[in-house]
């Protein structure tokens, strides 16, 4: 059974069709790459899975349960963690408090709470634990986003452009970190930095103009002419 099963999803925003008739299946344990041009509807799909946006049509199942009408916070508690493309830290709270806010209460979920200190080390923010988030740079905030989502102890992690704003070196660190995390968690990652992100994916889906235009292994995607035309461009191929 797929972990996430989104069927026949459509999303219209007064006139604009952001997503149309998309079927997206995420298998337990995989790292799925979601690629596509700007405005293809990737973030919208994330919002639909995480519950920030209701689809105009279609249904989302998580572990076989229909969650289309479940509010966002409850989905988070069910195990769907996400990051935001545009960072949204709690600026007045310290880095550590940002993570603390996300730890599910013991009563609400079984399993042991995430080791916050280890998480901070993982994203390289251990020295900043007691600084207010407002004092971090954008790059640090990106990493804080990821750590905060992980503090939920999610089963599914939705990463919206985790590499954006990071230097190549830092990208490598981040990917390294993602690779550690993926051992225990299913991940869907949206990324434009294809040449770094694609190789680590198990599978990739490419969207364009609200629809899925290609699906397959990284190798297949790289060679797909439709993807090259719409997204990668000739010289990147």
């Amino acid at each position: 059974m797929a972990l996430v099963e989104a069927r026949a999803i459509e999303k219209r925003f007064s006139g604009v069709v952001a997503v149309k008739d998309v079927d997206l299946l995420v298998a337990e344990g995989e790292l799925l790459g979601l690629f596509g041009p700007n405005g293809a509807g990737k973030t919208t799909m994330f919002n639909i899975i995480a519950g920030a946006v209701r689809p105009t049509a279609g249904a989302v199942r998580f572990r076989g349960v229909d969650i289309t009408a479940v509010p966002a916070f409850r989905r988070a508690r069910m195990g769907i963690g996400r990051t935001f493309q545009v960072v949204r830290p709690f600026r007045g709270l310290t880095v550590m408090e940002n993570l603390m806010a996300a730890v599910p209460s013991a009563a609400a979920r079984d399993g042991r709470p995430a080791d916050l200190a280890a998480l901070l080390r993982g994203v390289g923010l251990e020295k900043r634990a007691n600084d207010p988030a407002a004092a971090l740079t954008l790059g640090m905030l990106k990493r804080l986003e990821v750590a905060r989502a992980l503090a939920l102890s999610p089963q599914l992690l939705l990463l919206d452009e985790p590499l954006a704003g990071l230097s190549d070196r830092e990208c490598a660190d981040m990917l390294q970190f993602v690779a550690t995390v993926r051992r225990s968690i299913t991940i869907v990652m949206v990324e434009h930095n294809v040449h770094l992100a694609l190789p680590i994916c198990d599978r990739a889906v490419v969207m364009d103009a609200g629809s899925i235009i290609a699906e397959g292994t990284p190798g297949e995607i790289r060679k797909n002419p439709a993807v090259i035309r719409a997204y990668l461009g000739e010289d990147a191929a």
Partner: protein
């Protein structure tokens, strides 16, 4: 000092001060001074109630005067129906809590200034309705049939102020407190990490309203007589907000300092500069807002920290 430690220390100090204040009536202190202490505790408790919702979540409420008023009315009605005092107080807290659910249902969905407006109108709406309500005495208001000794509301108010202060301190450093502050900073992100912002906001608002309702209940016993225009004067909501602002928003000590200062200032200027005292109070508030970003408590903490050469980041934000 650890956070739990500082909360405990604060609690101890508050309890001790509360005990001294509560004992004043039996220590031969003049009733005038006791009245001032009473008013300080009244504003303190009301300020803490405000602090709980507005200081913590950033939703600025102008309804706290009205909530206290609802508590006052409920208590007087209950006591006049021969309920015991404890039940009468509970009625006040419950009525205000219920009213907050009504506001919450409409207004907590709004963010920022919209919420503030909605609470501002609530005040006015309740006044209009109470004036039309025969059960609430209409424009003439209500009186408490029985006159209680002043020591009863006095002790109750002192205790309430102390309890509210400790509650705010405990919440501020609890995990729930962190979650509430998360809502203040980014509600969308808070929801995405599993915080049920609606329930949490409603719960905090309801608790805050219940405290405000109790403040009103106790004050009703103190004054023994309710006029709708006096009970629901906008000014009371403004005091609820000015007191923590002067002292320091979102801190447990803020309303304590604010209330003492407010009452003290009022007494002094009433004698020193009768005609101008309102203007002076306004200027002082202005000075605090302009020159002490996080209230007097915040400024003091900074000064202290600077002396010890360590940086203290601004609280809240």
């Amino acid at each position: 000092m650890s956070r739990a430690g500082s909360t405990a220390a604060l609690a101890a100090v508050t309890v001790a001060l509360g005990a001294v204040a509560a004992a004043l009536p039996w220590l031969g202190v003049s009733s005038y001074v006791r009245t001032l202490v009473y008013y300080a505790c009244y504003y303190m408790a009301l300020g803490q109630a405000w602090n709980l919702i507005s200081g913590m979540t950033g939703y600025v409420s102008f309804a706290h005067g009205a909530l206290a008023g609802i508590g006052a009315y409920a208590t007087v009605i209950a006591l006049n129906a021969q309920w015991p005092v404890a039940a009468g107080l509970a009625a006040g807290a419950a009525a205000a809590g219920l009213a907050s659910l009504v506001i919450g249902a409409t207004s907590l969905r709004l963010r920022g200034a919209a919420f503030t407006f909605a609470t501002l109108f609530f005040q006015e709406l309740v006044l209009l309705i109470v004036r039309k309500l025969p059960a609430a005495g209409g424009p003439g208001g209500l009186v408490l049939q029985e006159i209680y000794p002043t020591s009863l509301p006095y002790v109750l108010m002192v205790v309430l102020a102390a309890v509210a202060t400790i509650a705010v301190a405990a919440l501020r450093f609890s995990r729930t407190g962190v979650r509430v502050l998360a809502i203040k900073h980014d509600e969308t992100a808070a929801v995405a990490i599993g915080i049920d912002s609606t329930r949490l906001k409603v719960a905090i608002f309801c608790a805050s309203a219940a405290i405000a309702g109790l403040v009103g209940s106790i004050h009703a016993i103190f004054v023994g007589s309710l006029f709708p225009d006096v009970v629901f004067a906008v000014e009371i909501s403004l005091i609820a907000l000015a007191v923590p602002l002067i002292g320091g928003v979102g801190t447990a000590m803020g309303p304590v300092v604010g209330a003492l200062l407010y009452v003290g200032m009022r007494e002094v200027f009433q004698v020193v500069a009768p005609g101008l005292h309102l203007t002076i109070v306004g200027l002082l508030i202005l000075a605090v807002v302009l020159f002490m970003r996080d209230g007097i408590v915040g400024a003091a903490a900074r000064a202290w920290a600077t002396r010890r050469r360590t940086a203290v980041p601004a609280e809240g934000g």
